[in-house]
Symmetry: C2
């Protein structure tokens, strides 16, 4: 997973648990694949395997949407695709803007997974005047000055921030002021937004750090098993080790 999320006041949206909502896109993808192969029905067991989850969990997830299955048979693929799409709001068109057209922004603009699911890149915005007019993924980049007008004219409610960390909050503020109520943030910053605005965060380096943690753990366990234990899995005498300034990796800008 990436990261994402902000505080979740624990209020279950319309009775559908947040955890379930997060899995619906997963099911949808698996179902779409089945649909393309013209598979008419699928059992919870099969679909769960395809989506990489437990079948009981899948059935419970679907139960929040309603009883769309047929006992003894399974689920109708087409029907389920429709129901989940509707539930996720993918039956309508969602214009999105991407702000910050660097390497990542360009990659996002070119990403095919958006258009295929009801998301339409309405505009690309960058602060660099030199970028203005230059087409990326077939869409001309526009200057930040026109941000508000672009949002309003296109009725954009979802914004993607792919700017450097420093520019993220100001851009976020402007997006929100212009009417955006959902933000996908790729900048390594904690954005503060007013109530009613959703923010999800994707942080590439955080994912790697989590992997590193587990990787280190594996390595530690291994050597501990050898008894030699070059890196004690748990050693922790803050008095002995320590080294407030010792090495410490580099680190980052905000």
């Amino acid at each position: 997973m990436a990261t994402g999320r902000t505080h979740r006041p624990a209020t279950r949206s319309r009775g559908i648990p947040e955890a379930t909502v997060a899995r619906l896109p997963l099911y949808l993808r698996a179902l779409t694949a089945l649909s393309e192969r013209s598979v008419p029905t699928v059992s919870s067991e099969e679909l769960a395997a395809a989506a990489g989850v437990n079948s009981a969990k899948l059935r419970k997830d679907f139960s929040y949407l309603g009883s769309y299955g047929t006992r003894g048979v399974g689920y109708d693929v087409e029907y389920l695709v429709y129901q989940i799409s509707r539930e996720l709001g993918l039956t309508q068109d969602w214009p999105v803007v991407i702000v910050g057209i660097g390497n990542l922004g360009a990659a996002l603009a070119n990403y095919g997974g958006f258009a295929s699911r009801g998301f339409r890149v309405a505009a690309l915005i960058d602060a660099d005047p030199a970028m203005a007019g230059k087409p990326v993924a077939g869409i001309p980049v526009q200057h930040t000055d026109d941000l508000e007008k672009i949002i309003t004219d296109n009725g954009v409610s979802i914004g993607v921030i792919a700017t450097p960390a420093g520019a993220a909050q100001p851009v976020c503020d402007r997006l929100v002021a212009a009417g955006v109520t959902s933000i996908l943030n790729f900048a390594p910053t904690v954005l503060s937004v007013p109530d009613g605005v959703d923010v999800r965060k994707v942080d590439l380096s955080i994912e790697l750090q989590i992997l590193a943690f587990h990787e280190q753990r594996k390595a530690g366990e291994e050597s501990a098993a050898h008894e030699g234990a070059a890196v004690p899995p748990v050693a922790h005498d803050e008095t002995t080790d320590q080294g407030p300034d010792g090495d410490v990796p580099a680190v980052m800008p905000a």
Copy 2:
């Protein structure tokens, strides 16, 4: 959050809850910023605000690492940076390979957040022969044929997959066979890996779909509040119907 995660056998690594591990990079980032401003100490309240979490949660998180704070004062910034870095395994060098140098792969290669945290891009690998030798982010792209040798020679244990969906599983298999035990997957596919291998998934379109769900809900609520409901929350009923929408509590994440 983004996505990420795969099976978590509920085995708490070394007593540190998975949820806590996922937040450590967040704290680290906030602490680093403080460190650069030469702030000597910070209270749980201040740091929590900077990281965007609850202060009680932060204190509990830190309590899993040990008692690194001073009551009445707070936490020593430098010391905490060191401790968290060490805990996450960032005090050592982690060579990573990125497979699939398309738009996204290139963006990742150029991403500064890696190098600064102990991650070193050891190699870029792509299946397109035309890419071979071409430098991306200053690193020459190598051909997939040499994947195994690259992994072995560099002692790589973390791999990043940024290939098209179809190529992901084969690439994953080869990475694992060559010795990689942690994978960050950007391809929209469920990877199957043997036990002992960690997989985290980042899926851009899933994040947007989750936002769309909440966005739709907001829109539905709004029109429902007007009672007139010019735009029914969901409408559409195929044959049967469904649609006990209407009210819905309220409250949203931020």
